[in-house]
């Protein structure tokens, strides 16, 4: 009885009054683009609603006698003569803590069947990025939990780092590992994962993995599926960005993954061509660069005066046959602060993650590493590059001097050490301990095949409750002399079990 009283009262509070709507009439419709007359006072980029069809549209072309509208939904049911209403709202989405743990569509509507989205604020989907004066240099690390990245291509909070590679070789896996790794991080950032053009089954599996590992406690998913209209794929990254910006603007850190921007480019190309805007290179519209630049510029580190929050962006772009000179890849490379390039050849050779260290870079670099990592991994990238060059060169040489031979053996072991499975991110203190063992030469006398197991055993040993090594490194963010001694002890102990 109580429930019914509550219900009744809530209903009474809602106002249901007929009001006068400003309308237009559909005169042309096809390919999810509609032309309507009327709508005289509609604003540019305003949300409009197709009467009786529960579908929204976006007013994009305000021509002298007609209005061009892209349909935010499946437009097949819309016909000539249908009524289109103004909503008097620019396209905006609900933002805030209420979004955490939810899966939403590009309009902010729930897709996970868990009820209404609790939100008191909306952010416009299109928004200007922070200006020159509102920013501060990136100085705090974003730990991905992937050894090769955190050591060699470190990412900072507020940076944009591109993940690039052919299909199916682990781009999404890197993003997923990064999200999972945030669980135990200090000052854990909110994670936003934008699935743009994915299969529903793939996203389902991904969300399940996030739930099982407890990552949905701090993650928001925005989804536009492969069978959604192009307008959804075009909007999804912007929606995700607005959701992430809320945290950035409120003194918190957030990370956003755009998986992937290639599909968003295709969607925008489709919409532009249907709107009859002339095609350019590869039939993309002239503003394809601007599509991504204005999106990615919104990821930034804010100055202290603006709250010091940050939004880090990890856009994913698919290459064709490893060609990084393609139009979209080079466009996005010229926007981001670095790229992580995954190589198919390495993937099929069994090197996971298949990072091509020579072609990957982080322009923000070591400024964003904790000092402990910087100390032991500082020259590692250059050293490995030298090693690779040497390996290629010495392929044809029989006689090698001992110096060169040592370099080769060390390099091979470091490369083996940096290999890592999926879904097994390492917290930064474990990463530091592992790399410490490698760069200090403790592995030089271990057989190459045993390195992988050694890594696992070392970490197991270090997890022993009696040891404070990992906690020490975590608190101080470096390996002090006392910890160094203790760490060496453990390393030697584990090595003994290998008969070394």
């Amino acid at each position: 009885m109580d429930k019914i009283e509550q219900f009744k009262r809530q209903l009474e509070e809602k106002e249901i009054e007929p009001k006068m709507d400003e309308i237009g009439t559909v005169i042309e419709s096809g390919d999810n683009v509609v032309k309507a007359n009327g709508l005289r006072d509609v604003e540019n980029f305003e949300l409009v609603e197709f009467e009786g069809r529960q579908i929204f549209g976006l007013a994009l072309n305000l021509e002298e006698y007609e209005t061009g509208i892209i349909v935010l939904g499946k437009g097949n049911a819309i016909k000539e003569g249908d009524v289109v209403k103004r909503t008097k709202r620019t396209l905006s989405v609900p933002v805030g803590e209420g979004l955490i743990g939810r899966v939403v569509d590009p309009l902010g509507r729930p897709l996970d069947g868990k009820g209404k989205i609790e939100s008191k604020i909306s952010y416009p989907v299109e928004r200007l990025a922070p200006s020159v004066i509102e920013r501060a240099p990136v100085d705090k690390p974003l730990h991905t939990g992937i050894l090769a990245i955190d050591a060699l291509i470190p990412i900072g909070r507020g940076q944009r780092e591109l993940i690039l590679g052919d299909r199916g070789i682990g781009k999404t896996a890197i993003a997923l590992d990064m999200i999972l790794n945030q669980k135990e991080e200090k000052n854990r950032p909110v994670c936003v994962y934008v699935a743009c053009g994915q299969k529903k089954s793939k996203l389902k599996r991904l969300v399940k993995a996030l739930e099982e590992k407890g990552a949905m406690e701090y993650t928001i998913v925005v989804a536009a599926f492969a069978d959604d209209p192009a307008s959804f794929l075009y909007l999804a990254p912007y929606t995700g960005c607005a959701i992430g910006e809320y945290f950035r603007d409120n003194k918190k850190d957030a990370v956003i993954v755009y998986d992937d921007l290639t599909k968003q480019s295709w969607a925008w190309r489709e919409i532009s061509l249907v709107l009859r805007r002339p095609p350019g290179r590869e039939a993309y519209p002239g503003d394809i660069f601007y599509l991504h630049s204005r999106l990615l510029e919104r990821a930034a580190k804010l100055s202290k005066e603006k709250g010091g929050g940050s939004l880090t962006a990890l856009p994913i772009v698919e290459t064709q046959a490893g060609d990084i000179s393609g139009y979209i890849p080079t466009n996005v490379i010229s926007i981001t602060d670095g790229q992580i390039f995954l190589d198919s050849a390495l993937f099929y050779k069994g090197q996971r993650p298949s990072l091509d260290i020579g072609r990957s870079v982080s322009r923000v670099g070591s400024k964003a590493q904790v000092s402990g990592m910087k100390k032991i991994a500082g020259t590692l990238k250059l050293d490995l590059a030298q090693f690779q060059d040497l390996e290629r060169f010495s392929e044809f040489t029989e006689e090698l001097d001992p110096q060169t031979r040592k370099m080769l053996e060390r390099g091979k072991r470091m490369r083996e050490l940096l290999k890592q499975e999926d879904l097994a991110p390492l917290s930064f203190e474990k990463e530091i301990a592992v790399i410490f063992a490698g760069t200090k030469g403790y592995l030089d006398d271990l057989p190459l095949e045993k390195i992988r197991q050694f890594k696992i055993d070392l970490i197991e040993e270090l997890k022993a409750p009696s040891l404070e090594i990992l906690d020490n490194i975590r608190d101080k963010e470096l390996v002090d002399s006392k910890t160094e001694g203790e760490l060496e002890e453990v390393i030697k102990r584990v090595k003994k079990s290998y008969g070394a």
Partner: protein
Amino acid sequence: MKTKTTITTWARVLVLLTKGQSENAKKNIILRLQEQLKRKKKDYLLPKILETAEKYLAQAEKITLVLARETDSATKEMLGQKLIASLGKGKKIESKIDDSIIGGFVARTEDYLIDASVKKYLNQLKRISLEEI
């Protein structure tokens, strides 16, 4: 496609030019249009243009009033007056009966829509109830 655009553009131009003109002036404008079209060998389009222009004019000047069922003329008259007052003077009311709106009325012009039907009311109730659950 191109012919259709020609027709609709001329029709619009005609509506704009003849607004508030005397009958004589209107006749002259139509004659001039005919000459212009003859010059371009498109005078066969004139009837279609006139027909389209009429349609535009009619649309602009009418208010469509939809009721669920027949009502007495007094109620219709009062409703009509109120609508003309708020949606534009000098317009004519065109009534229709459509029982799918269940009750109340729907009034529509080229630019505005007032949906005061029982169907809409019930739909809104449904939407709110679902949200509350």
